[in-house]
Symmetry: C2
Subunit: 253 residues, 2 copies
Amino acid sequence: MAAKTETIELSVDAFDTDYKRQLTWETLGVGILKCAEAHASRRGFGIYNVNGENHTWVLARLVIELNNTPKVYDEYKISTWVESIYRIFSNRCFSITGSDGTPYGYARSTWSLISYSSRKALDLNDLKGMMSEYVSPEIECPITDYSGARLGGNAQQVMTYKVKYSDIDLNGHTNSMKYMEHLRDLFTLDYYSKNRLRRVELQYIRESFYDDVLLFYMQETREKTFDVEIRKTDKSSGTEKEVPVLRSRLCFE
Amino acid sequence: MAAKTETIELSVDAFDTDYKRQLTWETLGVGILKCAEAHASRRGFGIYNVNGENHTWVLARLVIELNNTPKVYDEYKISTWVESIYRIFSNRCFSITGSDGTPYGYARSTWSLISYSSRKALDLNDLKGMMSEYVSPEIECPITDYSGARLGGNAQQVMTYKVKYSDIDLNGHTNSMKYMEHLRDLFTLDYYSKNRLRRVELQYIRESFYDDVLLFYMQETREKTFDVEIRKTDKSSGTEKEVPVLRSRLCFE
C-alpha cells in the first residue's frame, strides 16, 4: 500500500508571480490539482483508472487559505490526502509548506467522479474498496470548511466577461483556475498594494463554454470579505434567465 | 567551461493544454524564457550576475515556429544557445524536440541587457569576454528570422483590452507571455478547429502597465497570415496619440 499522503515539490518561478513577487493563486491552484491527480492515479483511482476510461474526477469546491504567500524563487511542497468519502463526494485536503516545513497554508476540496458520457456522478461507495484504505481523517487540516458565498439583493454587477479561446481547457469548458484569475482581476492593483489575499473559496456549480457571457456579481459581505457569484444567461428553456456558474468568497487582510 | 547549449526537460500537463489537448503557446513561451534564464545564469551572465544586480535581460523579439505541437502528457526538451552578439543585442536560438529527438520546432529571440534604474541598454561588447566563448553560430536554427509585421491602412481595430492585475508581472509591466495569450484570443474556437497555428512573431516595442487600454489592430496580410499591432494611447506629450506597444505576425496553416 502506498503512503496515505502524496507530496510534490515545486518552486516559484519568476513567470508565476504577480507584481508583488508572490506566487499567483492560479499557479498554486494548478499545483494543488496536479498533486491531487498524482495522489489518485498512483493509488489506482485516478482519472483514467476507474471503470476504464469513462470517468473523471470533477472539482466541486475548493478552499485555499494562506497565512503567508510563497515568493519568487521560494521552494515549497504540496501534500494531499483523502479526508472523507460520502456518497457522491470525496473530500481531499492539502498542506502547502516551505522547504523547512513551515506551513504557508492549507486547502480543502470536494470532488465527485462523473461519467464522461452521461455526466452523472458515481456513488463512491462502489469505489470504497479501493479508496477507503487511504481515508485519513486523523491528519489535521486546520482551516475552516467552505462557508458559502451568499449575495444579498445589493450585489452589484461589476464585470462581464466573454469566454475566450484561452479559457477553454481539454475538457472543452472554462478551466477551473481561469475563474480564479478572473475573480482576482475584480480588484485593483491599488487594493492589492494595501491588502493581502488570505483565503479563496470556490464552488463550481455549472460549466461555461466558449462565447458564454459571464456576469460577475459582487458584494462586500464583511470588511475585506467579498462574495462573488458568476452567472450566465441560460436560453435552454425558451426564455432567457440568469443561472449561477460559480460562487466564490475572497477574504483579504 | 560549461557546454554551449543548455537543455531543460518538460512534459505537457493537462492544465497547460488547449481544447485540442495541445500545449499552449504561452506555456511553451514560458519554457523558452526559463531555458534562456538557466543558460545565462549558469554561465555567469544571468539576470543577477552582470554588474551587480543592476541589469536585466529584456526580450526585444521572439519567433517560435512549430511543425508539430506537443500534446497532453508528451515529454519534450528545450535547448538554447547564443547565436550572435552585436552591439546592444544578442540573438539566442532554441530547439524544441520530443523525447526521441524529433524536432517539434525552433525559436529565435533577440535580447538586450538594460539597467534597472536608467532603463538604458548596455553595449554587449563590454560583456563579450564573458559571453563570446558561448557564441555558437555553427548550431543550426532552421527557421526564418523575424520578418516584421506591416499593417496597411486597412487594418481593423478588432479588440480593446484594459490591462488587468493578472497581466502584471514582477517587473511591474504586462507579462510578455500574456500578450501571446491575448493575441491568440483574437481567433475563434472555430478558426482553431480548422487551422493550426504554425508560427508566431513578437516584437516588443514599449511596455504597458496596469489600467492601460490596449488597442489591437489586425490585418490578414497573406492567406492565413495575420499581422497585429497593439497600440496604446500616450498622453505624455500633452496631446493624445496612439503609440505601438507590440507588433506580431501569426501564421496558420
